[in-house]
């Protein structure tokens, strides 16, 4: 890929609520290079959104706090920056697109206003220039009639267009890193395809790194270069895209892959879901949070968090099951009969 843009080491974000401490993110590490797309996969309670917001230092304090970890953007640690320095970083170096375009845009401000605001803030440009740029950006992300649209309000845009407008806002200052948090979940599938396209195109054009947060493994398979699988605030596995899909080592990853109905299945096969419920974040065990749902659990799983084990090129997993046994079990799973290389 390109130069290393971001190195996150052992990020932990805890929420101090009246009911107890919620370890929403617990010791998560990852890196991002230029022109690379990192997919963060997880379900409810996995901590993926909190991790992204921690990166942007958008965690409300109280009740939340980044309690540990270093967030190296180039040679600066984002955790140590002053508030005004961080404000410079947001939008300029790292930009974020949120899930629901309906509520992420201010309904009483024109679209052009919202984009121009970011430009004026970070790029020292006058109002007229900023608006002109805003229109250009809207056109860049594929909104027809951009000159006219820039003067409209969010309610005059459809869901897909709003998301494009959000992307326009995000790329307005050529950020090195684009974080997209479930950018397509609220959209129809044909619009989803358009938006993924736009994100990819912008990534090519601006040579940025993209962090894509989603629960949809299909979207991950589409554009991610590497994947980090999160569960209960921890990273359970990470690796290159092919490694994760064809050579996964963690029972949760197996479970995820096995529980997906596939459009291209030849014969109807029964899904093999992960049993049980998503984790209760208040009472996470000190060991592996997947305990209770994992079919291959052993006694040490509940109390001790397994150390990182490298199982392939740039492919790591946290699991107590010995590697040989893992391969054996995986080979017997129905999902992997057909798809494993």
């Amino acid at each position: 890929m390109g130069e290393r843009l971001l190195t996150v080491d052992r990020l932990s974000t805890h929420f101090f609520t009246y009911a107890g401490v919620v370890k929403a993110v617990n010791g998560v590490s990852f890196t991002l290079d230029r022109k690379e797309t990192l997919g963060i996969v997880g379900e409810s309670g996995s901590g993926k959104t909190v991790a992204a917001l921690s990166l942007m230092r958008l965690i409300p304090d109280p009740p939340g706090k980044v309690v540990e970890g270093s967030l190296m953007l180039g040679d600066r640690d984002l955790r140590t920056l002053r508030d005004e320095e961080m404000r410079q970083v947001r939008g300029n170096d790292i930009a974020m697109i949120f899930q629901d375009p309906m509520t992420s845009l201010n309904p009483v401000l024109k679209i052009g206003n919202q984009i121009a605001e970011a430009i004026m803030l970070h790029q020292d440009k006058g109002k007229r220039e900023a608006w002109r740029l805003a229109a250009k950006l809207l056109d860049r992300v594929g909104i027809p009639d951009a000159e006219k649209r820039v003067n409209q309000y969010p309610f005059e845009f459809s869901g897909g267009m709003r998301q494009r407008a959000m992307i326009a806002m995000a790329i307005s200052c050529n950020p090195d890193i684009l974080i997209a948090d479930e950018p397509t979940t609220a959209l129809d599938v044909t619009i989803q395809a358009q938006i993924i396209d736009v994100i990819e195109e912008m990534q090519q054009a601006y040579e940025s790194g993209v962090i894509l947060i989603t629960h949809d493994l299909g979207v991950i398979a589409e554009i991610a270069d590497k994947v980090m699988v999160m569960y209960g605030g921890r990273t359970v596995e990470y690796g290159g895209i092919d490694e994760i899909f064809y050579n996964p080592h963690h029972p949760y990853t197996w479970g995820l892959l096995g529980s997906l109905p596939r459009l291209d299945e030849i014969e109807k096969t029964r899904l093999t879901p992960i049993l049980g419920q998503p984790p209760d974040l208040i009472s996470l065990p000190s060991g592996c949070p997947f305990v209770g749902r994992c079919l291959y659990e052993r006694p040490e799983c509940r109390d001790q968090w397994p150390e990182l084990e490298i199982v392939g090129p740039e492919h790591g997993v946290h699991c107590w099951i010995p590697e040989a046994e893992r391969r054996e079990v995986r080979a017997s799973l129905p999902h992997f009969q057909e798809y494993v290389r």
């Binding site: 379900e43 409810s44 027809p144 459809s158 869901g159 897909g160 267009m161 129809d188 599938v189 044909t190 619009i191 989803q192 395809a193 358009q194 993924i196 396209d197 629960h215 949809d216 493994l217 299909g218 979207v219 991950i220 398979a221 589409e222 895209i241 092919d242 899909f245 064809y246 479970g255 995820l256 892959l257 096995g258 529980s259 997906l260 109905p261 596939r262 459009l263 291209d264 299945e265 109807k268 029964r270 899904l271 093999t272 879901p273 992960i274 049993l275 419920q277 998503p278 798809y339």
Partner: protein, 349 residues
């Protein structure tokens, strides 16, 4: 006789504006669809937002009054049914909703939620009803201890199970599943899909499975109907749909669905549709899909094509509403340059 037969169903919602609330337009949510569902099968209704699939589901249950068309359940005309007849019919047709958080009354205990229909239809004694509720809870994978709890004490997947238990209370024959798994986590989704399949086998249920996720619909359904802007544009066996899509919208839809397999994804050719889905308040003239259709020609602007079969590999079971459908003979795909005669709408329409 099919269990459920829908003919020419239309549902239009008036748009009222101004102080006097005059009707200035219509939302053509469902605009003339016909299909039938056989006992024991699962018919999938798939489409994007605004296509009318949820409205269809509700109309079948008479939760909405259709603007036109007939709905026949086991030979009985649902629309014409009297109040008492309708009460009887309600026992046979039930619905599962999408949102596990909004579909349960937050102030009612689980046992009351599940047992309410027994109460309404005066079935059994107090003790018998209680027993039935426990039975139902266990059938869906919950425990009897859950009966005294309130909905907010459960997770999304568990709430959905409560909703399923509620739907099963009266031993229905048909269940409309309106996006039953869309709001659930991926790992829970599979549990509920399997549960619905198991229940279908055990209790001989018939499903109309409404969803926007094509992968889920294909997996769960025997036959699939693709809807767009209030019309059915294609209907076929689900196995055939992926291999031999005839309608250009179906093709685009299929190509847009991401498949969780990097190798397959890299090899795919995407058909990206231009523009947004038009509003059902203002549907295009002629074929509703023609403004976005890569194959559209002048014929397509005149009138909406009728749903009919092109013959071909799947025969009568595969119908499409298109003037230039893709045809498959011996597995080979071709698109004729002449409009498909079978699509010509009948003169009276």
């Amino acid at each position: 006789m099919s269990l459920l037969e829908v003919k020419g169903l239309k549902k239009h919602f008036p748009i009222r504006t101004g102080i006097l609330k005059r009707t200035t337009g219509q939302v053509y949510a469902v605009d003339g669809i016909s299909f039938s569902v056989e006992k024991g099968e699962t018919l999938g209704l798939v489409g994007e937002s605004g296509c009318g699939k949820s409205t269809t589901g509700r109309a079948v249950l008479r939760l909405l009054a259709p603007t036109a068309g007939t709905i026949t359940f086991e030979g009985v005309d649902v629309m014409a049914a009297s109040r008492t007849k309708m009460q009887r019919l309600r026992r046979d047709m039930q619905i599962i909703f999408q949102d596990p958080y909004a579909s349960l009354n937050p102030r009612m205990r689980v046992r009351n939620i599940v047992g309410e229909s027994l109460h309404i239809h005066n079935i059994g004694t107090e003790a018998e009803r209680k027993k039935r509720v426990f039975e139902l809870l266990e059938t869906v994978g919950l425990s009897t201890e859950h009966a005294e709890r309130y909905p907010h004490e459960f997770s999304g997947g568990q709430r959905q199970r409560i909703g399923i238990a509620r739907a099963l209370a009266l031993n229905p024959k048909l269940i409309i599943c309106d996006e039953p798994v869309s709001a659930l986590d991926v790992s829970i989704r599979a549990q509920v899909i399997n549960l619905l399949e198991d229940l279908q086998d055990e209790l001989e249920l018939t499903y109309v499975f409404i969803a926007h996720d094509l992968s889920v619909v294909k997996h769960t359904s025997d036959r699939v109907a693709v809807m767009y802007l209030g019309k059915i544009v294609e209907i076929s066996d689900s196995a055939v749909l992926y291999d031999q899509p005839q309608h250009p919208y179906t093709e685009a839809l299929l190509s847009a669905v991401p498949i969780p397999d990097p190798t397959t994804e890299r090899a795919r050719r995407r058909i990206i549709l231009e523009g947004d889905v038009p509003s059902p308040a203002n549907p295009p003239k002629g074929c509703v899909f023609h403004p976005r259709c890569p194959r559209a020609q002048e014929t397509c602007t005149a009138a909406m094509p009728a749903l009919s079969s092109t013959g071909g590999d799947a025969g009568e079971r595969h119908e499409v509403a298109c003037y230039f459908p893709a045809r498959f003979t011996g597995g080979e795909r071709s698109v004729a340059s002449e409009p498909f005669a079978g699509a010509t709408p009948p003169a009276s329409a």
